[in-house]
Symmetry: D2
């Protein structure tokens, strides 16, 4: 019988819950501990998800020998520091998106893991979303011909946690928070063919009262092999989270809608207990989803990372991919700040992507 991978969760927020839920079905791994600094938070999380141990201090959790792999689900500005510590403690690392807040941090994370001989795995779940996996399959089998255009959009009416709205912590607005999904998704669809250029149009519209960051973004990528990709991101769309993608090729098209497209069309005079992430009021018509975590591919993603650790395999999505996505993010903010398409590779010592948009003189 295979050894089981011991997992430690770092962070006890929204994404941590999704990870905890994902591991329930995974045979070859167990979540052994969760860590979060605020007093009582890790304990409450551990009770809720039946995790044996909980910690307020990271070092204490990293000291557990039985933990082989940690999953970092904390605010962006803490990713680097925690990743380096975990690597130094000999743990394999899964980092939630975006990888971190700047390219120097990205290099430090990649280097630390390489030096420690542990894997750095980047948690972009769209590469595991079953509907998107099938759609990529259509492209790969030649059913759509040569790819011409990719589209992906993710829209809802804004994240809950305050750190997202503070560009000092997050590094940027919606393009940072959700554009990273699209960028890695497009790289994956296109067989990792290099991105040639990035153009972005960003704006702060509805949420001017709570953030300086972009709450709407449109980003166009050009790939070396001729493919164009359009990403649309929004923190201002009411009515429930929306995630859809398209592939247009020389011989066909494929349209995939992950949430609304899979929903139970519902009318309810009193409203539904839970319809979908960020649904808001469900009185009247709504789109009731089910098994959102499975439909997004979170359990499948975690199963893959566990398998990589167990059998020493190369992850589908690595720290290098995370850095590539971050480079595109920086180029996007640069483009938004200059009104020009930005060519890749794009090097910058900017502390955060947002600075290239709005703090060009500092």
């Amino acid at each position: 019988m295979d050894k089981k991978v011991g997992v430690g969760l770092i962070g006890a927020g929204f994404i941590g819950s999704i990870h905890a839920d994902s591991f329930k079905k995974i045979n070859h791994a167990d979540i052994l501990a969760v860590m979060s600094p605020p007093p009582g938070e890790a304990q409450k999380f551990a009770e809720k998800h039946q995790i044996p141990r909980h910690f307020t201090g990271l070092d204490d959790m990293l000291a557990l020998e039985e933990i082989d792999m940690v999953i970092i689900g904390v605010p962006n500005h803490l990713h680097c520091e925690i990743c380096v510590k975990a690597a130094e403690a000999g743990k394999h690392v899964v980092v939630e998106k975006p990888l971190c807040v700047n390219l120097q941090e990205a290099d430090r994370m990649i280097e630390a893991c390489k030096k420690a001989g542990v894997k750095l795995m980047y948690a972009e779940e769209l590469c595991f979303t079953p509907k998107y996996v099938r759609m990529k399959g259509l492209l790969d089998e030649g059913a759509l011909g040569t790819p011409i255009l990719f589209k992906q959009s993710e829209k809802h009416d804004g994240p809950h946690a305050p750190h997202f709205w503070d560009v000092e912590l997050s590094g940027g607005g919606v393009t940072m928070d959700m554009g990273c999904h699209a960028f890695q998704f497009f790289r994956w669809l296109n067989g990792n063919n290099p991105v040639k250029s990035v153009y972005a149009q960003m704006s702060t519209t509805v949420h001017t009262d709570k953030t300086m960051g972009d709450d709407n973004g449109i980003i166009i990528l050009e790939f070396e092999n001729g493919v164009t990709a359009i990403a649309e991101e929004s923190w201002t769309k009411p009515g429930g989270m929306d995630d859809r993608a398209e592939i247009h090729g020389s011989e066909g098209v494929a349209y995939a809608d992950v949430l609304q497209g899979n929903s139970i069309q519902t009318y309810s005079k009193k409203g539904v207990g839970y319809a979908v992430e960020k649904a808001g009021s469900t009185v009247g018509w709504s789109y009731t989803m089910y098994e959102e975590n499975w439909n997004y591919g979170f359990p499948q993603e975690m199963e893959h990372f566990v398998d990589c650790v167990l059998h020493d395999r190369e992850p589908l999505v690595t720290g290098e991919d995370g850095k590539a996505a971050l480079e595109i993010i920086f180029a996007a903010y640069e483009s938004a700040g200059t009104g020009k398409k930005v060519m890749l590779p794009f090097q910058t010592a900017a502390a955060r992507p947002y600075d290239l948009w709005k703090r060009r003189n500092s």
Copy 2:
């Protein structure tokens, strides 16, 4: 660590493949053997699905002590005999739909299992289909008010295996083969409230050359609590399998489409390798599904049955449910033969449902 449930598959056809695939993800069970009489068939199946042992004789497989539970996926007319043998061998039994071909067989199967102290579990996967489970949840939480009308339809252009088309073996046509899904689905939605009456309209239209059985059926059920249900079944619908349901209540409605509704809308000049069950040609537009088995609930259903065996729990769907569905099927064929609504309970010694439609004088 929990003991693992040892499973034996009886039958190596289409549904057997679905079951084999479903068990790959199940922790607490292993398929230890497969049995099918035609020489070489079980062996080929075992190789394909990596099942350790294969048999052409049922008794040989039933002799294995390590087998706790068998899954019967064979032509209808063989269900009873095999179930009784398996029960006598002390194995828990899962029977694919329909339970068997007549009510006397149903009683024998239920009795044999009761006597042997083994579970008789009826494999109606619609009670595990994630989208339908969520839809039932909407009803149960009160979001739709008091139920008024249920609808469910399953349509494709006809099964492959010859036994389906021979009413002597199958017992009936599409109403027997697919109506059973709808009937148990409606009973489950309605909290097992009793069915009061059954009316059916059947016809043989396109497939008059290959069967005497009905290839189209419309069945109306009335429940004691006032709910009406319409089932539509067809073996003559081209363009890919179609499975959808609706709940209409006093305070809301819910519409769920399991296959086309979850699909990737695809256009392909050359066609797609595999779009969906019974898609036919996929040149041009088609509806590409993914993870059909999961979306239908087959792994979830098998996981439940394994859990019932492991922990001695009552299955969600039992042999009694299978018999109730069969009773409704008989009443449907009686109704089609008389042009009248048939009240339940309906007792008949007819050898097969079809006889009540077309052999009323014998």
Copy 3:
């Protein structure tokens, strides 16, 4: 230049408004007068729709020589009397559905018009609904093969005017009020091939407090040429009017959704001024329709009737069609009352369809 047809509207209610609106685009006809008994009602209507003359008395309007054709849009129980008077006054007659309340009245109306040498035209707009006309075209051109199954459903949460809820006046509930649409629609789709039998399941569910009539009905028709048709009618469906149909043939299928299927999918925090007939609250998600009258075919229908009068042509939908639809309605209520399929032709002296369902002993 062609003479213009002079039109008189009888009735100033909801359907009268739709007719008035329809005539705005019709070249060869003018609405010259409107008549409605309640004091002030016809005048208000005339002002709103810019109709030159208004009357409270029918005879006064029928006395106008310049009126060639009248359109009867009044409660069912008044159709016959008004039709006979109009025919006797030498006016061509358009009668809104259902034709009248019993078969004797139907015969009187047909006879009166024949004797007077005027046309009796039955206003079933589904025969002019552009989307349904195109769908029939698919069938007629052979794209779907031999027809097997027709489906049509019309559902909303109940009519406004009180007379609909009083079976003494209306003759029946939703099967009378909306089933007539489906029945003539099916006859038209099937090239007027005769209906062989009728089966119906009716219930009064949500509106038991306001009516004795059926508020939900499911009716199955069998045609001589083997086609089956399912009509679903409901006065209890919230969320806006819904009208959809399907044709299943030996070689294809066609699905048409007239309202929701053509809508602008809308989310509005404050709600929409007008989304669709009977939408109810439009806060949150709703389905905003546009040009409902044109999309339903009302102007096209009226244009056709005007053309028939102008050029002495046979109308697409006649009083005989209206009587045939009414016969099916009577058979449906008989079936609901007996639990048996009712064969056609069906003769009855019942004063109203409802009586065959619930007053079988009187």
Copy 4:
């Protein structure tokens, strides 16, 4: 009785047929003549559409006193010359999109019409498309809040007539041919608020063998009032023409799909006679449209122009709008050629938009 407007069609191609069909329902206008140079072409068109007179020479048709208004539906490079002649002959002018091939021509056309005291009306039918008119209505009534993002896309697999593919004649590729629709559509949605900047990404992908022009284009507009708009244009999308738009606002969203969204979902083993413009093969699944001209708003658009001539009203869409759309087109090609967002107003003496993309050194 109102005078009737006498109309002359210039051009006997695809768009000419749509116009001829549109006038059948218009009361206050008659098409009196059609003109097209190739011998026999105008005559054949006149016979087909029952137009009394036909010409091969423009001057001959312009000499008819009874013609009040001409409609120019000819290759782009001929628009200016014909417009000026028609104005000099005292005829009101309707010009199909795009207005002409460069800004100097646009000025000449506007000047000629002003000097002659005739109207210059720009035929952008999307401003009359019923579904889009209703969607604009949702925005205007405040149901969606403050506008944030507009989207519109028009895609098919390429026009038939050779002149479209020759940039010397057309002026550009798909962005010229179909982007003009989106640009005027966005201006109209936004209450003619000025466009601030234009960014475009263009490529020639599938049709490199037949054109130097762009066969795919993505254009982002920024408006002075903060709205962003994305236009997607394609000449490489198989499966039938596709036209859809979205409005995202601070308080709501609206999604409208004009063709596929209104279609009859059809499966046909043999194929459908006609499904929709550029459907290609209709064997298998397809989307059957109906009344395309009405659904696009062509008759409504022509009715409006006739009304403007009859009653001396200002058209909804003028030559100035056509010039504004053309200015955006030029800015788009400039942007594609430089990789930068281009600010408006944008002045250029370029002979055609294409030159700013690919002939930057000439």
